[in-house]
């Protein structure tokens, strides 16, 4: 334990003149010059992006444009090939010492990861655990809560997504929308600074999309940074503070939803929007 504190001090010193992060809202994401290849496929092309703390940022764009890969890279589920991503000045997956980056040990990756939660397109709930067990698994094993505390908290999170009465149900006994809401409760239970949503409604019947978006909407004012990759343009327009339009591995346009939807700067954005709106 003392070792990690020391490392943090080293890092802060190196971060230098930057303001003390605890005084401002947490969960600022900085993406700089990120490139990522899958074999010969160039999925992220020199991506640079600043995502504000405590705000809702939607990433829209055609399929295969690298939106999901960027999200996965922020959570270190993918390693970037060049460039860096930092959350509140902590590099994702690396530690800086002098002019070198050292790959983090598994334990340190996990510690940082627990501050960033992710909600997946196909839920990825643990099928052999009940809704409540899904929610309390990480708080018990990672945050070190006692089981009783975790259960109490977990029930509160399930109520918050409107599933207080389904705590004992297994994922197979829930509808798609309910599953995704359990997944959101599971993410919330880690009390993360950032929640990443990877097309959270794409696997849902149109009828069930609303209930999930409502829950995400209710989180928008909670001070957590939300990054939502979505095809629900109406949602992106109403809920987000900023919208990013991604195309061919690059953010083409970045701005407040009103401007991006009503007066897109790029022709490509206008073309994409006109197909969908």
């Amino acid at each position: 334990m003392p070792a990690t504190i020391e490392e943090e001090v080293v890092e802060e010193v190196i971060a230098g003149a930057k303001t003390n992060p605890s005084s401002e809202a947490l969960g600022r994401i900085e993406v700089r010059g990120v490139n990522k290849y899958f074999g010969s496929l160039h999925v992220l092309r020199d991506v640079s992006l600043d995502i504000e703390a405590g705000k809702v940022t939607s990433i829209i764009g055609p399929s295969g444009s690298g939106k999901t890969t960027l999200l996965r890279s922020i959570n270190h589920l993918e390693k970037v090939d060049s460039g860096y991503i930092a959350i509140d000045d902590e590099l994702v997956g690396y530690r800086r010492k002098g002019d070198r980056l050292y790959e983090l040990k598994e334990k340190e990756i996990l510690r940082r990861r627990s501050r960033v939660a992710m909600v997946f397109q196909n839920f990825n709930l643990f099928p052999h655990m009940t809704a409540l067990e899904n929610v309390i698994e990480a708080p018990v094993s990672v945050r070190g809560l006692t089981k009783a505390q975790a259960i109490e908290e977990g029930k509160a999170f399930l109520s918050r997504v409107g599933l207080g009465d389904r705590a004992g149900a297994y994922p197979n006994q829930l509808s798609g929308g309910q599953k995704q809401r359990v997944a959101i409760a599971r993410a919330l239970a880690m009390k993360p600074k950032v929640i990443l949503f990877d097309e959270p409604t794409s696997a849902l019947d149109p009828e069930l999309v609303g209930e999930v978006l409502e829950v995400i909407d209710s989180l928008a004012t909670g001070g957590t940074t939300l990054v939502v990759v979505t095809h629900e343009l109406a949602f992106a327009r109403e809920v987000s503070d900023k919208v990013v339009f991604f195309d061919k591995g690059k953010p083409l346009e970045f701005g407040p939803p009103l401007q991006l939807f009503n007066n897109p700067r790029c022709e490509r954005t206008a073309e994409f929007l006109s197909k969908l709106l």
Binding site: K107, M118, F120, F126, T130, V142, N172
Partner: protein
């Protein structure tokens, strides 16, 4: 809310719509399956024939079977079979699990060695493997513990004294079992969706806990049927150790019939014991599978004893309904007649 109320007024449920023919009062008759009935009759006849021959053919010598079934030497042989099975299954599955993990490791040396191990031990017939291990003493006269590539040695034993027939049998069976169980375990682990690992990783759950809490319980569902399949194979497979003159169930029976010349009844003794062992395994498998079925079905089916009790409890109701439906059918018939008028 207002919209919902309005629609509920506009949309009447279809069933009560006027003008539809009402089939709800008619009695449904299930279709007949003549092939199924004929097949069942033939099977029952064949079973009866087998039973008749087993009972009436004096050459089965059921008296001899009964006499030797629980003879002390047979029970001792059964004990050896059980020990061989349990010890080599335990060692085999532990070793197999390690090989499966090594096989999935990112280190090419670990995964390559694991692959070669499985490849080799699946290629060598068990019989050949046992005889080779039995002759280990010829290849390496002494077995000892020391520091490799030096002269330092802590102890040294003659291979022949260390490796009796039972030890040899256990080593051979375990090595063989490990190769097969490694593949079974690997298959189970691979069957778990990659998204499960990603979800656990994104929650910051540690690698070891991810494996024990998330992957393994789900992998077990795929592992158990195959593992029990393998285990029943092992129970019977132990009979091969007769080549090492180990007195297991089969070899004991063999020795007895060589002396008494009552070959078939003695083989029958062995068969019945093997059947009993696999039956026990099948029952255990059923309950183990149930234990790991958590969350896989909407609700678990009843166990056979539960079904039996439920059936017994439902008999009074069944009887009542039998008489009740007979009465109801008469009533319905009357109703329908009335409609025709």
């Amino acid at each position: 809310m207002a919209v919902a109320a309005e629609t509920s007024i506009l949309c009447d449920p279809l069933s009560s719509a006027a003008g539809w023919s009402d089939y709800s009062k008619l009695k449904a008759v299930s279709s007949r399956h003549p092939g199924r009935i004929a097949g069942s009759i033939i099977v029952v006849l064949i079973l009866a024939l087998i039973a008749q021959s087993l009972i009436t053919n004096p050459r089965w010598e059921w008296g001899v079977v009964a006499e030797y079934f629980s003879a002390e030497s047979v029970l001792r042989g059964l004990g050896v079979t059980l020990i061989l099975t349990i010890v080599s299954a335990t060692l085999g599955f532990i070793f197999g699990a390690l090989i499966a993990l090594a096989r999935m490791s990112k280190s090419p040396i670990l995964s390559g060695t694991a692959w070669v191990y499985t490849w080799f031990f699946r290629s060598v017939p068990l019989l050949v493997l046992l005889v080779v291990i039995y002759n280990w003493g010829y290849l390496y006269e002494y077995v000892g513990l020391g520091i490799p590539f030096s002269d330092i040695s802590f102890f040294k034993l003659k291979t022949v004294t260390l490796m009796g027939p039972i030890t040899t049998a256990i080593i051979g069976l375990s090595f063989n079992e490990a190769a097969y169980s490694a593949e079974i375990i690997r298959g189970g682990i691979l069957s778990v969706d990659q998204g499960q690992l990603e979800a656990a990783a994104s929650l910051g759950i540690s690698r070891s806990r991810r494996f024990t809490r998330i992957v393994l319980p789900q992998a077990m569902r795929a592992i158990i049927p195959n593992a029990f399949n393998d285990l029943t194979g092992l129970v019977k497979g132990t009979s091969i150790v007769y080549v090492l003159a180990v007195y297991d169930l089969f070899h004991t029976v063999q020795v007895i019939y060589n002396r008494t010349q009552r070959v078939l009844p003695m083989l029958l003794v062995a068969v019945v014991w093997y059947v009993i062992l696999t039956t026990i395994l099948s029952i255990v498998q059923y309950y183990v599978e149930r234990a790991f079925a958590k969350g896989s079905a909407h609700s678990l089916p009843k166990t056979p004893p539960q079904k039996l009790f439920a059936f017994i409890a439902s008999i009074p109701g069944l009887i009542a309904r039998w008489f009740g439906t007979a009465a109801l059918a008469n009533e319905k018939g009357g109703e329908r007649d009335a409609c025709d008028d």
